[in-house]
Amino acid sequence: MYDILQALINGTFGWGWPDWLIYLISSLVVVTIILVVAPLQMLFFTYYERRVIARMQDRIGPNRVGPEGIWQPIADGVKMFTKEDIVPEAADRIVHFLAPCVVVAPTILMFAVVPWGPGMTPVDLPTSLLFFFAVSSISAVGLMMAGWASNNKFSLLGAMRAVAQMVSYEIPAVLSLIAIVMIVGSLSINSIIEYQAGLLISNRDLPGIPDLGLGWFVFTPVGFVAFIAFFIAALAEGERTPFDIPEADSEIVAGYMTEYSGMKFGLFYLAQYVLNFLLCAITAILFFGGWQGPGVNWLYAQAITPTNPDGNGLFNVLAGALGVFYFLLKTYIFFFVMVWLRGAFPRLRIDQLMDFGWKFLIPLTLANLFSAAVWVAFTRWGAAEGMLITVGWSPVLRWLAAFIITLAINIGVYLWLTQVYAASQAERRRVELEELSATL
């Protein structure tokens, strides 16, 4: 945004404004856009989810307010705003009030590093991926505050479950990301996206591949396993079925939201849906190339960029539009999958969820980490790093070897883990009984 504005104001118009003013203007513009876009995404997502899940259940879904019910979320919002705000007598008023804010703020902050299109990153941090996950972990504190301040058993139980779940599933999420970070060699989201140019194979793994913006990580064995693991972890972090235990209405009513009403309740909803959007977006970015897609890179090459200040501003708009289109399309498809899962599955029990996370997902992602190391070694290392086998191999051969080896490792580990996981559960039951019979 900053570079475009600078090019526009100082280049096109030639006004020669000072840097800090342009910086301030661009910051304000970006913040405004984010603050507008985030709630809009949430509104759209609630409508989208309800319509899609209704279709899955042979229903139609909301279709009364506006054409095809498109204004339904607005009507819901109006309802939320006009509802009475009830604070329980025994609640801790200040914390009760602060909790929704603490939950919502990080989700909006996370938007700061999400690139919407080529050159459309609000804040281009070199450690943006880490920033994303660091900030996302703050909302756990907000959930704790909500659960504790409500002074309700169900709330506290829900908050504990939510936080335990978020903390546990952050580990497989981050472990699966580390595999990607190892391959890319950067923590910057932008460079991860740039890596995924090419056609089925990344440009950087195999130079000379035509650039259609399709060199996505999901086409590699490492990326695929990381994608599955990350998506499962994202479901748990976003409290989506089958991991929506914190708000399991059949057990603990509405979890940490039980004692909230009116717009405070609405804020929790906002946070949840915005978080879901961001998790879908980051999945699209990391494994499906974000805004990458056929044509975007070509358009962007002719646009005004720091490296190419003489470009045409029109191409900025075109590349941006196409990039945003690809990005949102992928994001919405992932949200569709989330809704699809919600339509299809019951939910796990809390101890089963922890079992799955710690005993299956984490070993799987650890093995995937090893695969990623193998991948890097085969595709990039030479004699200098001590990788003597691949000396003299052509890039195609190296890539093929890496692909086959990592595929074998990942499939093998998956099959073995499922077996071990099942056996461990059966074994546990047996051991339990043995111990019992020994003690009694």
Binding site: V52, R55, M56, D58, W340, G343, F345, A422
Partner: protein, 361 residues
């Protein structure tokens, strides 16, 4: 590893053990299969489906725009039928429905001949408490005259609870309405119902038994017809509607004449009161009163009935006879009511005494 499922033969069948195979190692195939099922539903849901044999497609009926098809037998709330042509109600107030009704929500009073005070096979007031009705349909089933039927109307919601106590005027529906919602069911009973109705009409004097909202119109129509018949030629007389009452009598029903007639009836009744032809003499009042006055008349009737009941309960004849004198009647209506009350109380006392003596002997 898997044992063959357990099975034994029993007469005309087997006992089979369900196949669990839950010891198999699972790798997520079941989840994917479930997702495939849901995907199919999602894909097919853009097609509208109303077929019984299909399990995919959207089944939703968009309610206010699109009404569900209602089978003939559907029963919601009871209604009363009247004949389209004559306006006569089919109900004869036989009290069958009142007796069978499980939640006891049907209440009715029998009509009386205003001239003679004798009961007429027609209903004076008919009340159904829709709010407590359980729509069981027994009333329609037991009705020997097919006068009470179950309606298909289901949009009964209201913000006024009192509206759910439904009176005869709101319960009345023409036969043609019922024939349109349940043609075959009506066709089955049509013959006998109409035949019985003809029989009953003959025993109903004047406008008794005519749907209340039609009495005015019918009176006007009769007056018109009578005027026609009187003016051009007496030959037109047979063309008058098949109402039992003569058109000459109908002409009397101008307001002044009606008042005169009422006075006459009152006198007659007062004379008859001693005889005690029927315990519910006051039941005749609502039928005479025009529909606008309906409510007040009913109230008076209920009040009178209550007073009579009370009087009977006190078990002391002097007290009962003395009671009518205490209120000072402002108008003749009140006076008449008081007279009826007193007569009733006296009669009930007599009846009770006779019962007592019977039981005693």
């Amino acid at each position: 590893m898997m044992e063959p499922p357990f099975e034994i033969e029993i007469p005309r069948g087997r006992v089979i053990e369900v196949q669990r195979d839950d010891s198999r190692v699972r790798r997520g195939g079941g989840l994917l299969r479930g997702m495939a099922v849901i995907w199919k539903h999602w894909k097919e849901s853009f097609r509208l489906n109303r077929s019984y044999s299909q399990i995919h497609g959207t089944f939703t009926i968009q309610y206010p725009e699109e009404k569900p098809r209602i089978p003939e037998a559907y029963r919601n709330m009871p209604i009363l039928l009247y004949d389209d042509e004559t306006g006569h109600e089919l109900c004869t107030s036989c009290f069958q429905c009142e007796r069978i009704c499980p939640p006891q929500v049907i209440h009715m009073t029998q009509a009386k001949d205003p001239a003679t005070g004798k009961p007429v096979p027609a209903v004076a007031e008919f009340i159904i408490e829709y709010d407590a009705c359980m729509s069981c349909g027994f009333c329609a089933e037991v009705c020997p005259f097919d006068a009470i039927k179950m309606d298909h109307e289901f949009e009964l919601s209201t913000d006024d609870h009192a509206q759910l106590t439904v009176h005869k005027a709101q319960l009345n529906r023409p036969i043609s309405y019922y024939a349109s919602i349940a043609p075959t069911m009506w066709a089955e009973v049509r013959e006998s119902a109409l035949k019985k109705l003809q029989g009953n009409i003959r025993r109903r004097p004047d406008v008794i038994g005519i749907a209340p909202h039609l009495t005015e119109r019918i009176a006007a129509r009769r007056a018109e017809l009578a005027a026609q018949a009187a003016a051009p030629s007496p030959a037109a007389e047979p063309a008058s509607p098949p109402a039992p009452s003569a058109p000459t009598e109908a002409r009397k029903l101008t307001p002044e004449e009606k008042a005169a007639k009422l006075a006459a009836i009152r006198a007659a009744k007062a004379a008859q009161a001693g005889d005690g032809v029927t315990p519910s003499a006051e039941g005749g009042t609502p039928a005479e009163a025009p529909p606008a006055d309906d409510k007040a008349a009913r109230l008076a009737a209920i009040r009178a009935a209550n007073a009579a009941k009370k009087a009977a309960a006190t078990d002391a004849a002097p007290a009962a006879t003395g009671e009518p004198t205490t209120p000072t009647p402002a108008d003749d209506k009140a006076a008449r009511l008081a007279a009826i009350r007193a007569a009733n109380a006296a009669k009930r006392k007599q009846a009770a005494d006779s019962v007592d003596t019977e039981e005693g002997s």
